[in-house]
């Protein structure tokens, strides 16, 4: 943050009480968003990342039979010596997938591999490292326990148990668990559809030549990226010129097509805006000024049944408000359980400048110092148009509203991007 910004912000303190707190804004947004009701049936691989819309009841025991946890010998516990040694005859072998058909008798054992079904009458496995074997017999010493190194049938999952409840997100481990039960298809919530557009007469496409005062539109690209990470069906409506008819048409189209509409630009106090006027006319939208930085202005509401977010126009503000407000709402609509994300307290190695009044999401680089400790430093220039502050960052440094910055060495709260992003 530069000196003049601090000077400027100081004069704003008188207005701080009009600003909506981040916590209050988050709460109001979550009250507006409700989980989707549409569902679809998918093969389990296609369901990776989705949220279950049904309870999954196991049709089988996992493992289906008592089996060996080790490569070794299956024995009867009654043959285990209390002291001294006991010699057992090897009468067969059992492999995973090729069970032994031999019924074990006293004084006998069966060579058994990890995962192989326990032979009839066997109840205990002795790891191969723990016996002396000579090819036809083994010598067992005292100290073993009945049932050791045996995985019981149903130890992981019992038949008819609910193994995954509705609302569970399907991550790689859930995928494996479903496969292990033989479940090939599941019912999940349908994908969320989100339409987005940018507004601003100064915006040009990436391939266009810039005239005076013009910039390339970057917001549609970062929004596309953030939505793609959430496995959302996104509809890019392009750049909307600030003309009454264009704006009206875009907002109507977008809200008819999507569950959620996101715009960037056109919600701050300005003069050249048909956006605000049109939103007020077509929907029930609140225009907030939030006690946060970057990203003071935010418009939230409904256009018919579609949820609407009007984000600020500055590229960093777009990303910060998306991650803090829009993403949790979208995830909630997708059926995910609410998670606050990982927040760490680590020392900052650079001084962080801030004026009291607004909560700040400064962009930081989380790294390990020479002692292996996690520390954070600022990415430098923190103005809300400076997109490098975001692309170089791997975390937000969250400085609460009342904070007046932090000096080097002070512990600050950090929200790592991996996990968030």
């Amino acid at each position: 943050m530069t000196a003049e910004r601090r000077q400027g912000a100081g004069g704003c303190d008188a207005q701080a009480h009009e600003l909506l707190s981040v916590a209050e804004a988050k709460q109001r947004i979550m009250d507006l968003a409700s989980p989707l009701s549409g569902r679809e049936r998918l093969g389990i691989r296609a369901a990776l990342g989705r949220v279950l819309a049904e309870d999954i009841v196991s049709p089988i025991n996992v493992p289906p039979h008592d089996n060996s946890a080790m490569d070794g010998y299956a024995v009867m516990a009654s043959d285990l010596p209390d002291d001294g040694e006991r010699t057992l005859q090897i009468v067969g072998s059992a492999f995973a997938g090729r069970p032994s058909t031999t019924i074990l008798q006293s004084g006998q054992c069966i060579r058994i591999m990890t995962g192989a079904v326990l032979p009839l009458n066997a109840d205990t496995v002795i790891a191969q490292e723990l016996v002396r074997a000579n090819g036809t017999q083994i010598v067992v010493t005292a100290g073993h326990r009945c049932g050791q190194d045996v995985r019981r049938a149903g130890e992981d999952v019992r038949a008819d148990d609910v193994v995954l409840g509705a609302g569970t997100q399907i991550a790689p481990a859930e995928l494996g668990l479903l496969a292990s039960l033989g479940v090939a298809e599941v019912t999940v919530l349908r994908r969320l559809r989100v339409a987005f557009f940018s507004t601003g007469d100064e915006l040009r496409g990436t391939a266009e030549t810039l005239g005076p005062g013009e910039i390339h539109d970057s917001n549609r690209y970062s929004i596309h990226g953030m939505l793609a990470r959430l496995d959302i069906e996104s509809l890019d409506m392009g750049v909307i010129r600030d003309r009454r008819d264009d704006v009206r048409k875009a907002i109507r189209e977008a809200s008819a097509l999507a569950d959620v509409v996101i715009s960037s630009g056109g919600v701050s106090v300005g003069e050249a805006d048909y956006i605000k006027e049109t939103l007020e006319e077509l929907g029930e939208i609140q225009f907030w000024r939030m006690a946060m930085k970057p990203g003071k202005p935010l418009a939230v509401g409904r256009i018919a049944r579609t949820l609407f977010f009007g984000l600020p126009g500055n590229p960093v503000s777009v990303m910060a408000t998306f991650y803090q407000f829009v993403q949790p709402a979208l995830r909630h609509m997708q059926g995910h359980r609410h998670e606050t994300g990982l927040l760490l307290r680590v020392p900052t190695i650079t001084a962080l400048h801030k004026e009291p009044g607004r909560l700040e999401y400064q962009r930081g680089i989380l790294e390990r110092d020479s002692d292996g400790r996690l520390v954070v430093r600022t990415t430098g220039l923190q103005d809300s148009h400076v997109l490098t502050s975001m692309s170089r960052a791997n975390c937000f440094i969250i400085l609460p509203a009342e904070s007046s910055g932090a000096s080097a060495g002070e512990a600050v709260e950090v929200q790592p991007f991996h996990g968030l992003i």
């Binding site: 000196a3 003049e4 910004r5 000077q7 389990i44 691989r45 990776l48 946890a69 490569d71 492999f95 997938g97 090729r98 591999m113 990890t114 995962g115 192989a116 079904v117 790891a127 490292e129 723990l130 073993h144 130890e155 992981d156 790689p172 481990a173 494996g176 668990l177 496969a179 292990s180 033989g182 479940v183 090939a184 601003g200 007469d201 100064e202 990436t206 810039l210 005062g213 910039i215 970057s218 690209y221 970062s222 929004i223 596309h224 990226g225 793609a228 701050s268 003069e271 050249a272 126009g313 777009v318 990982l342 989380l366 790294e367 390990r368 220039l381 997109l387 975001m390 692309s391 991996h418």
Partner: protein, 421 residues
């Protein structure tokens, strides 16, 4: 995990001094792999999640023009030095995209919006909140320093400067930044190609009817899920019969299409394992016993020109060895020059843990925040066949080689899965 099992394992570690530490296995693997060297050109949006293969030089200043950081009035700072409160005459307005065409003379000011180019003659912006309008006469209640609220052209990135270097992962922020530089296409490293298959006579594909001793093959689903998140090209070669010719054929096929081959099952010491001889025939593969739990056996080497990972067959061991050994290597091979530091937290362990020294244990656990402190508890039975321990977990408790038993309340290292996955 049962207590007797821990004791047994501990015994066998004492008897097996040829155990390799997690750290040296990682180092040996890393020494044998190289990043991909071919690159491809893709449309900007398609680059999301890929790895940049070029240095991106900015063709423009960012911001392009010296512009306003605030909504307010563009002034000549010297004009505000007169008797307070100074008053200037508004001669026009400047919007983002619609610059003011004229030049400001002494005694004049221009209404200016955030992002609008600073009109010629002006050098300072006074924020709206510090002004009062009486028709075209604007009175200034506060006088900022010279240059206040003005963002110089090139402040973020100067024309010709390198904005991004090879090895950068294209995140949503990077996408936005590249769009703002007017890039429509990018050179990225070609995707890494990863083939995988599972082995084991007891395994049956989903949809089959299980007979005694058989289980469904779940590993190909977890491996698929874990690979999917890494943005690699995936080849699922299916389930391979426990038979030398089938294995030979699949390995040769995999080596001809993939950079990396991952197999699950068939690498532990056992009689059913002809895997070693086939691998010795088609490649050079080391079979290690890693001092870790779960996941003791690990094979690594070359098959043809491809790198080969032989993971254990137990579902949890597959996931743990994938995250600890395979994932970092795949990220390195796909060209990532750095990634965020491994997040390792300290948390208070609420469950006592049995642990023998001499190996690293990855205990599946639940990390939570309780009154400002991180706490962690393990997720029930820890057998390496028990996928439920992974499903319920949001972290690994990492117990290092030298660590012994952990009493309830002791501090432990925790690796959150959110960061890992």
């Amino acid at each position: 995990m049962s207590i007797d099992k821990i004791q047994n394992s501990a015994d066998c570690f004492e008897r097996e001094p040829d155990m390799m530490s997690v750290r040296s296995a990682r180092a040996e693997i890393r020494a044998l792999v190289e990043p991909v060297t071919e690159s491809v050109t893709v449309a900007l949006r398609d680059a999301l999640g890929r790895v940049l293969a070029e240095s991106v030089r900015s063709p423009i200043d960012v911001p392009t023009h010296t512009n306003s950081a605030m909504d307010g009035f563009a002034v000549r700072r010297a004009d505000l030095d007169g008797t307070p409160p100074p008053t200037l005459r508004q001669i026009g307005a400047a919007f983002a995209g619609h610059p003011y065409a004229g030049e400001i003379q002494a005694g004049q000011c221009v209404r200016i919006m955030t992002g609008a180019a600073i009109p010629r003659g002006a050098d300072t912006v006074v924020m709206q909140e510090h002004t009062e309008a009486h028709g075209d006469d604007i009175t200034f209640s506060e006088v900022p320093r010279h240059g206040a609220n003005v963002r110089p052209a090139g402040e973020d990135i100067a024309r010709g400067q390198i904005a991004m270097t090879p090895g950068t992962v294209i995140t949503p922020a990077a996408l936005g930044l590249l769009a703002s530089l007017g890039r429509s296409e990018l050179r990225v490293w070609r995707p890494l190609r990863v083939a995988f298959f599972s082995t084991g006579d007891e395994l049956r594909p989903l949809g089959s009817v299980l007979s005694r001793g058989q289980i469904f093959d779940s590993n190909r689903y977890t491996v698929y899920g874990m690979l999917k998140r890494l943005g690699v090209e995936i080849f699922d070669l299916g389930l391979v019969a426990d038979e030398p010719q089938a294995l030979r054929t699949i390995l040769r096929q995999a080596a001809s299409i993939a950079d990396v081959i991952i197999s699950t099952g068939g690498v532990s010491v056992g009689e059913a394992d002809f895997v070693r001889s086939v691998l010795a025939e088609v490649g050079r593969v080391n079979f290690w016993k890693i001092a870790m739990k779960p996941g003791r056996p690990l094979a690594f080497g070359n098959v043809g020109d491809a790198r080969f990972f032989g993971l254990p067959g137990n579902p949890v061991a597959v996931m743990v060895t994938f995250y600890q050994f395979v994932q970092p290597v795949l990220r390195y091979m796909r060209g990532e020059h750095e990634h965020a530091p491994e997040l390792m937290l300290r948390a208070r362990c609420l469950t006592p843990l049995r642990k023998k020294t001499g190996r690293t244990e990855y205990v599946r656990a639940l990390l939570a925040e309780e009154s400002g402190d991180w706490t962690v508890r393990r997720t029930g039975p820890q057998g390496s066949g028990i996928l439920n321990s992974m499903v319920r977990a949001n972290c690994f408790i990492v117990l290092a080689d030298q660590q012994g038993n952990v009493a309830a309340g002791e501090w432990v290292d925790v690796q959150p899965l959110a960061g890992l996955i």
